[in-house]
Amino acid sequence: MKRIIIAGGGIAGTIVANRLVKALSPEIGKGEVELVVIDKSDRHVYQPGQVFVGMGLVEPTEIIKNERDLLDDRVKFLHGEKGEITKIDPANNTVVTADGVKHTYDYLVIATGSHLNWDEIPGLREAEYTPWSYDDALKMREAVQQFQGGTVVINVARLPHKCPVGPLEMTLMFEDWTRRIGIRDKTRIIYTYPIQGVFGIKSANDLMIKIFKEKGIEIISPFTVTRVDPKEKIIESQEGEKLKFDLLLGVPPHVGAKVIGDSGIGDKRNWVPTDKFTLQMKGYSNVYVIGDTTDIPISKAGSTADFESYVVTANIVNDIRGIKQKKMYDGSVFCYIGTGLDQATYIRFNYNNPPIPPPPSYVHWWGKILYNKLYWTVTAKAIV
C-alpha cells in the first residue's frame, strides 16, 4: 500500500487531500493507497474571512468549521497530540508526531503554512491589532467598534506575508466604515509599506494609489518598522519616520512553521525550498510543498494553494500510476480586493502575465462574497 501524508490541515492541506482522494478513488477503493492528514488543530479557519470578522462584518462562527467535516470520509485525520508534528525527516521518509509515533510515507505534501512572528518587532504585540489570526481578529473587532476618531496607522511589517492584498482591503474597508458611521472627518488614515508604493505589482499598485488618493488615505513608504512604543503609541521605521497613532492596525512579520526550522528543512524564515514549477521540495522527488509553506516568489494566498493543488495532485497520481508526465504550476493566482464595504476589484495573473485589475464595482464585491461563501461547499471540498 502507498501512503500519502499531508502535513497540515489548513486551506492548502484540506483542498489537496480532497482532490487527491477523488483522483485516486479507484486505488483507495482497492486498498492500494492511504491518505492521512496530520494537524494539531481540529478547527478549520477560512482565513481570508478574518478581515471581515475584524471589521465586524461577519460573525466569527461563519469562518470556522470542524476539519473532519470538510475532509472526505476516506481521508484519515490525526489531530491533537497525535497530529502535532514534531519532526519532518524527508531523508528517511518519516514524519514524527508528539505522541512519539513515526509515520512513514511514500509521498509527503508539506502544508504547514505561515505563522505570525510578533517578537521580531519590539512592542508590536502590545500595540497592534490584526485580523491575520482568528483570535486576533476577535480582538480587532472590539478595537474597531470602540474607535471614535483619531490617527490610524496601518502597517505592513515585512514581506512576504499571507494574503498580500489583505492590508489594502483592510485599509479601504476601514476608511469606508468611518464614512458610514460619520467619523471620517475626525479620522486620519496612514498606510505604511516596507517598499515604495502600496503593493508589489505595478498595475495593482497604480490603481490602489489612485484610490487611496481619492479617499484621502496618506501613504508613507518605504517604511520598515523597527519598533513600536505601546505606551506613547509611536511606531518607528528604519527610514527614520516616527508616527504617533491612536489605533495601530497591521500585518505582523510572517515565518514558516516552527517544525520546518526544527527539522532543518527550511531557509532562515522556515520557508521550504521548492521547485516553482513542479512544486517538489528541492532535493526530494516524493515530497511536495503547497500553499504558504513554499519559498517560491508567489502570493501566499488561498487561491494560490487551490491552483497548486491541481499540480501536486496530478504529479502524485501520475507517479503512482507509473505515468512519466509532470504537470507544471504556471504561477496562477486570483484575489478579489475589497475597495470599500460594497465595492471590489480583482487581480488574476501568473508568472508570465501580470494582472490588469478592472475598475472597482459592486459586481466584483458580490463575486468576492460569493467566493467566500462557496469555499465551504465547493473549494475546500475540491468539487471543481
Binding site: 515604495q196 508589489g200 508570465n352
Partner: protein
C-alpha cells in the same frame, strides 16, 4: 591580484579579453568572503514584486552574506540596483544570460 588585461579595439582580440575578464571576475568572486545564502528567480509576477521578495530575503541574511537574483528585464534590473544602492547593499556581480540578468547582492 596578478591577473590583468588590456582593453583593446582590436576585434580579433576582443573576445579573448572578454574571456579573460570573465575569468578575472570569477577569481575575484571565488576569493571574496561572501556566501550566497539563497538564489531567487524573480522573473515571474508576484504580489510582493521583485523588490518585495528581495527585501524579505535581505532582511533574513547576515551582514557579509549574499543573495543571487535572476531578473527578467532591464527595467526591473535598474529598479533593483537602485533599491540595493539606497539600502546600502552592494551588487558584487552582474551577468546577462540571454534575456535574463543575474545579480549577486551582498548585505
Amino acid at each position: 591580484m596578478l591577473v590583468s588585461f588590456q582593453i583593446t579595439k582590436n576585434k580579433k582580440n576582443f573576445n579573448k579579453n572578454i574571456y579573460i575578464r570573465k575569468i578575472f571576475n570569477n577569481i575575484v568572486r571565488d576569493m571574496s568572503s561572501y556566501k550566497i545564502q539563497k538564489s531567487l528567480d524573480l522573473t515571474g509576477t508576484s504580489c510582493a514584486g521583485p523588490i518585495g521578495e528581495l527585501s524579505g530575503v535581505m532582511d533574513e541574511i547576515g551582514v557579509g552574506e549574499a543573495v543571487e537574483v535572476i531578473l527578467g528585464d532591464e527595467a526591473t534590473k535598474k529598479d533593483v540596483v537602485a533599491w540595493v544602492t539606497k539600502k546600502g547593499y552592494k551588487v558584487v556581480s552582474e551577468t546577462k544570460e540571454g534575456n535574463k540578468f543575474k545579480l549577486i547582492i551582498q548585505k
